[in-house]
């Protein structure tokens, strides 16, 4: 042991000597290793829903007409400006000059037409095809101008065009984007060692502000313990969605690291099957919402990170209404409501997908429901099983899931959606909202929609999922929030 100590001592002395002689000459680092839990199945954001795809390519490799900023605002990207006709039906986009794809070809209006037509076409495999549903036609005016005509006004159209699923691709390379993505962004695709990492390089001929990083390597580490070790050993410089919340305090206490806590678009709900007895009874659903102590779930399942919500809307959104008081934790009231509904001795199935918020949260919710006399049968499911049993076949009473798409309150207007709400009055609000472009009127309608689903206790609204990341203290410019699932590297730099 002594000799080992001597040896390491000597080694660190040598390292110190080398470090000292090199340090003054060292400039700020221009490469970064970013940890991700899941590996993307492929790198084509227009052909799959996996969040990991956008986490690699959004804003880095691919860009759309508009884009999200770190705080969720929609700003110009490949279109530098646009005109909207008075009836709200036609959008004329003015495209940027001097933009080229990574293969050297020029970006122009034809590419825009191709990309949007491809996304909305009959054989489209775009996971968010609904984003393009209102497009009636796309007309190329000249190489730098394109007009999109909608079949009905859509107040969210510019927002929709900022999604990763709406990025602009080139006709020549679109088919190979899954394995060799070619976009217009500030980083080019380097290599992909499957199962280990994806490497991006700097795009020297980028149209916008030059990025300070020369190389970005996304490393895929699924195991929470391994993620912790990789951060501690310095193999990874930043882990924007760190999978082990239980270790965050340790990183907070360590000056070498910063812990970044931000918001996501993930409304986490206790989903209820609104068409299945006894949950088709409003009183029973209300009883369940009052049986749940949101803060206890946030503390117990997420180590305190998360914001309670009372409706299906993101708290950081300016139009959010805090409705948590209407479904406050009140077991006595819950019991009374159950009695009123004649629903005693209830046993409900609770089907849980894999994320820890669901599995840990499920145990806590089960015990909270037990307090008011509702028994639960917990079943743990993998995602494909969950999609089959719960999402598609609606064979469930309760489930816990985080809805991570931004501004997705519209799902409550779908008849066939898994919680089976599809209320006529709510649909009316949504139709009106889509036809409205006046901001004040839109706010009013969004408030009405939030109130409606909270009053109807469609689901029990739990919390907004937090984004908890860990990074080397010298890494700056990472997104704290997650307005869309992305690791935008364009502003990231090392601070030395």
């Amino acid at each position: 042991m002594t000799s080992l100590k001597k040896l390491t001592g000597a080694a660190s002395l040598i390292a110190l000597a080398i470090g000292l002689s090199v340090a003054p000459a060292m400039a700020a680092r221009t490469d970064i290793n970013v940890g991700m839990v899941l590996e993307p199945p492929n790198l084509d954001p227009t052909g799959g829903a996996a969040a990991a795809i956008d986490e690699v390519v959004y804003a880095n490799i691919f860009e759309g007409l508009t884009r999200f900023t770190a705080d969720g605002a929609v700003v110009p990207a490949l279109a530098h400006s646009w005109d909207i006709s008075d009836d709200g039906l036609s959008y004329t986009f003015h495209l940027r000059e001097g933009v080229t794809f990574h293969d050297g070809s020029t970006f122009d209006a034809e590419d825009v037409k191709f990309s949007l037509d491809r996304a909305r076409g009959d054989d489209s495999t775009n996971a968010q095809k609904a984003l393009f549903a209102d497009i009636a036609s796309i007309d190329v005016v000249d190489p730098k101008t394109v007009t999109v005509t909608l079949s009905k006004p859509n107040g969210l159209f510019l927002f929709n065009m900022a999604w990763g699923d709406a990025v602009i691709v080139a006709p020549e390379t679109a088919a190979d984007n899954a394995t060799k993505p070619v976009g217009t962004g500030p980083f080019t695709f380097g290599e992909w060692v499957k199962g280990d990492h994806v490497e991006l390089g700097k795009n020297a001929s980028y149209w916008g502000d030059a990025v300070s990083l020369d190389k970005v390597t996304f490393k895929f580490i699924a195991d929470p313990t391994a993620a912790f070790a990789a951060m501690m050993a310095g193999d990874v410089d930043a882990f924007p969605n760190f999978p082990a919340p239980e270790n965050l305090d340790q990183f907070k206490a360590d000056p070498r690291f910063t812990v970044i806590v931000g918001s996501t678009e993930g409304e986490t709900i206790l989903g209820m099957n609104n068409k299945k007895a006894p949950l088709d009874n409003l009183t029973v659903r209300q009883a369940i919402t009052h049986a749940i102590d949101r803060q206890a779930i946030i503390d117990g399942a997420l180590f305190g990170n998360g914001t309670p919500i009372g409706t299906h809307f993101a708290p950081h959104h300016p139009d959010y209404v805090d409705l948590t008081a209407g479904s406050a934790y009140d077991p006595e009231k819950s019991k009374k409501l159950l009695e009123e509904a004649g629903a005693t001795d209830l046993t409900l199935t609770l089907k849980l997908p894999p994320p820890s918020y669901a599995r840990r949260g499920g145990e806590i919710i089960a015990s909270q429901l037990k307090e008011v006399g509702i028994g639960t049968e917990i079943t743990n499911l993998e995602w494909p099983q969950w999609l089959e049993e719960v999402f598609k076949n609606k064979d469930f009473d309760l489930t816990i899931v985080s809805h991570t798409e931004p501004m997705d309150i519209g799902i409550y207007a779908r008849d066939d959606y898994y919680f089976q709400y599809g209320d006529a009055d709510f649909k009316k609000i949504m139709v009106e909202l889509n036809d409205t472009t006046d901001p004040a009127k839109r706010t009013e309608l969004l408030h009405a929609a939030q109130n409606k689903i909270a009053d109807d206790a469609v689901n029990a609204y739990l919390f907004q999922l937090a984004k908890t990341g860990v990074a080397d203290a010298k890494v700056k410019g990472l997104w704290a929030n997650s307005p869309t699932q992305a690791n935008d590297m364009t502003k990231v730099h090392w601070d030395d």
Binding site: D44, Q128, A130, K194, D196, T225, A233, D235, L387
Partner: protein
Amino acid sequence: MTLYLLRRLLSLSLTLVAASLVVFLVTEIIPGDPASFMMGMNADPSAVAALRNEMGLDQPFFWRYFDWVWGLLQGDFGRSYTYKVPVAELVSARVMVSLPLTIYALVLSTAIAFPAGVIAASRRNSPADIAVIGVTQLGVAIPNFWFAMLLVLAFAINLHWFSAGGFPGWDAGFFTAMKALTLPAFALALPQASILTRVMRSSLLDTLDEDFVRTARAKGLSRSQALWRHALRNALIPVLTIVGLQFSFLLAGGIIIENVFYLPGLGRLVFQAISQRDLIVVRSVIILLVFAVVAVTFLVDIAYAIADPRLRRHRR
């Protein structure tokens, strides 16, 4: 010997046919649709249908089975649903991690086990023997993932000698790649070496009690001469069996270690493919592993024959 080999070959092929049918059926039965998994919760049903069509999932069951088997016979493993690259490409990249790791671990484990087993057996009940028994008992008892975490803690987090995990690829250079495999190989080798040492020791002790060793001793050979010339070779059969089993186990079963060290190996590929319902990858990898296991068993059978000439002469 030829007849023996032919019979082994026939049973090998039958095993493969049976396995292909079972694998296909089982992956067919498990709930979950790869297309709906890929498209997520907001997907438009028409887009999911388009994707199912693109992946050929709307074809009838038998057609897909024969299509798959026909492809396999021609060396075509199909195309991954999710990665959208040929399965063969995917698998060969993973084999380039798992196979060297398995061999590395096996070399380490035999390099430890052989001398340790021989020393323990030749000096029965000596302090060296007792030490070997104690250490191997510990080695068998320690779960390898826990040992792996200790290695990471000591050599990656505290000493910074190794990375905590990951694999840079063989393009990064032979020594860089081997370095990345070193901690995982040790973590895998420890329990295997312990098992192997114990098997080696007890097998040697058994053989040392046999009549022919006594005869050898009576002819004037020293104890260690008898051990090296006569007993060792005879004691090898059970050891070879264990090495063969360990090879198969390590090749596919390293998944926990692959997770701890986030290595892109075969085990993790299968695990990932199952959770994404990338059924074509699951099927092809499993059939490949069945083939590997059957082939290794076959090779071990041949190795028996080499180690023990009696098996060659006798018609079995």
